[in-house]
Symmetry: C2
Subunit: 546 residues, 2 copies
Amino acid sequence: MLQWLRHYKRAQLPGDISAGIVVAMMMVPQGMAYALVAGLPPVYGIYASILPPLVYAIFGTSMTQSVGPMAIVSLMTATALAPLAASGSGLYLVLAGQLAAMVGAVLLACGILRVGFLANFFSRPVMSGFTIGAALVIVSGQIRPLFGGDLAHIDATSTEIGLASVLALVLARFYLAPALSAMGMRKDWADMAAKLAPMGVVIIASAAVAVLGLHVQTTGAVPPGLPQLNLASSPAHWRSLLQPALLIAFIVFLTSMSAAQTLALKRREKLHTNSELIGLGAANVASALSGAFPVTGSMSRSAVNFSAGANTPLASVITAVLLAIALVVPNGALALLPLPTLAATIIVAVLGMLELDTLRQAWRYDRGDAMTLLACTGGVLLLGVEAGVIIGVALSMGMLIWRESRPHIAVLGRIAGTEHFRNIVRFPHVQTLPEVLVLRIDAGLFFGNVEAVSSRLADELQARPATRHLVLVFSAVNSIDTSALFGLLELNASLRQRGIGLHLAEVKGPVMDRLKESELPGRLNGKIFLSTVLACEELSERVAAN
Amino acid sequence: MLQWLRHYKRAQLPGDISAGIVVAMMMVPQGMAYALVAGLPPVYGIYASILPPLVYAIFGTSMTQSVGPMAIVSLMTATALAPLAASGSGLYLVLAGQLAAMVGAVLLACGILRVGFLANFFSRPVMSGFTIGAALVIVSGQIRPLFGGDLAHIDATSTEIGLASVLALVLARFYLAPALSAMGMRKDWADMAAKLAPMGVVIIASAAVAVLGLHVQTTGAVPPGLPQLNLASSPAHWRSLLQPALLIAFIVFLTSMSAAQTLALKRREKLHTNSELIGLGAANVASALSGAFPVTGSMSRSAVNFSAGANTPLASVITAVLLAIALVVPNGALALLPLPTLAATIIVAVLGMLELDTLRQAWRYDRGDAMTLLACTGGVLLLGVEAGVIIGVALSMGMLIWRESRPHIAVLGRIAGTEHFRNIVRFPHVQTLPEVLVLRIDAGLFFGNVEAVSSRLADELQARPATRHLVLVFSAVNSIDTSALFGLLELNASLRQRGIGLHLAEVKGPVMDRLKESELPGRLNGKIFLSTVLACEELSERVAAN
């Protein structure tokens, strides 16, 4: 907490200042746009960008994380509030703040209870599929503001401004940085300038609307100062917001952690998962206190912060101060932003979230993961973004269990004249004894594969009726959970009944330490051998002696 | 399908006949009692014990499985139907049959889609906790029939019969078999006789009620023949039954598979998970066609079937025929069973499900699993048996992710003069180089631990700022999923930026085969070495040359 301030070095200041300015200029159009996605007046996006990063600077651990509004979290906010109040109504604004308070409370509770590991319930392909689905939902929601009406009744002026903005943003996205570089600008400066294109487009569009006197919906007058948190609403509302708050908190943590993790690796920093939860929770409570809506750390914004030179959270503090000034001083200018241009910034920003590269690589590496990604996208599109989170968790877990339920098990034989044992399928000339069956299990044993392993062992024993001794080689068994322990005890009991010895070999240190606490070593109808070769030599002697 | 019939041997007949008779005598009181638990007239328990085992004999794969009513599934049936109709009403009976049809359809669909692996979502401790909770719920539901009224208004006659039955059953359970053995009966016959005690108690109680003319509620007159399936009910009812049907199907499959698995191991048989699903699905459809309620394979009854000598499903066919005869011939006798005695048989049977041994062993072996068990019991007691299933899945998955999110990672050093590498914590005298960091990851890499591994690697690198080469030893990495692949690509990119080489060593064959399909080998900022010693020798030369 504020450790960075105690060790602050003067050399860090220029980077923090430049990053603070760049992110503030990025934040104005982005924050306003994402407030629109959340169904709130655009200025609420600025409200959500002042206190939250300040509070995160105090409680968070990532040095370069930029906390504020973010597309998916805004979409989930809109989804949560839509059934409860009309978008933009007084009740809607009140409930948005309450939702942020609840999200903050959930995150704080998770941080205090140290359950940060829960973020691991989402696999990358599922996260990617979820993001793609959410991006498509957000884009479809911006069609109406872009055209100033639905597709059957488009408004000509809005459409012109909107499409011109999209064109300008797309050109800037792909060609501005190379063009500036070609003109001799330093590459990192050129990249930075390209990131500020949305701000430029917004300024040009606002100026054009004002100068030409175009008739188009704009953001509208902004009252000075921050709105206040209003906690008075019916218990039914609080109850309805509980599940969305849990799901949003999950997504907030997930997106924020993956951003922070990537940056920490680049900066050789250490992240504390549970402190991050507390930082994000406090930021959301701060957003609630500003009367705004749920916020999170964003990958794209944090990356800009990082590459603009941010060394410490002072960059975020500077961003927050600049935005606070913008809210008070050139207040009138904020009222003139044309909504079609904001819609254009959302669409272009969100299309950047359609990273199909994950799908491409997953398709090549693991078809099942690629199908899971597509299923999650489909779930978001067909059943909604909240159902999408639940589907995502279910699919991640389903894939995990499916994969783990088919562990690799090899029947081993000895390479003649050596102490090495190999899979008889890959090495057909290895030596085996009909009375001694040696199996290597290439997976940790846990509830998800204990039935599969038992059933596979039963098959192997059925195929080799002469077996008198079964040796399980545990060299690749990293852990044995309680379910698997019971599975081994039952296997042992049934083999004893059938007069077959059960032996273990090459049990790893930590696994053996745990097994010693159990009843297995005492009940085992056989021995625990240090190595496979010792097991086979002793057992073949015993068989020969009979 | 009916393979057992083609290969039937005459020597198998005596065993099948004796098992068929024993199970039929066990089934009469048990079936009637579990029908009561399901909120149905007792005779429905007999209805549910005729067609389902016959159909299972055709479609199932387990040779000794006994399919019929079972306590937990009956409890879940009652829970599902309670909000929709008054217990025992006409609608209730109709909906019970429909629920069985839906459970059957779900199981058949799972069997056809080959998703039997889904049974692996429940860990043993969670299953045990769930069973204990359900048993307590069932016992509490039998207090009223046992005393013939609630505890403030107990009926003296009912209470006397009920408590006498409990006493007789408990004595029989613990002392009958030893007493008969002591009197010279063969041990297995004595055990069998003890299993038939409920039938004896029921007969004695019925006779006492009839002879002494006691006033107590009895099962009542039984119409001859089977009721019919009635599929006409409102769509709203079908919808309300969908979630319970899914949960019941899950529990049916779980309990049935664990019974079948245990018996198959004992009998050297092969089980086919997906065929089992089809057998159980067909049995539930058959139960629906009998106008009865959901059924499953029961561990306790199947064990009796097995130890009474059952060799093939012919035993179940004999049981079914005997029960069908009982339904037609001594029909009047079935009407005289006193309900307090049936309640007593439920209570004593279900108390046998309170196997605290799992809790004891889990407590010793893995405190976390023991706490999970207790949490699942608490969930069932506080939130109900349906919520209990969901809580059970969530807890199983939560424990899995929690455990996997903290993989064991060892920093390795070389034992001087050898090619062996060991954990520097356990072997403080091993040799290390400040520029070459060698880490062994003792876990498969997947979405659940990729963040933890990245963060651990970042910590180790931060603690050793001289590191120029990072060698990851993959000897214990059994698999790498897509999330982990992306994690490795990101690690590689950030290490490249920092000028640190990333090398892999001892990658397993199947893992390497998969990695070759990915972009990692091409992008790797380092080499893939066959062994740790080769990696260290080459890298230390490179470091020395610099």
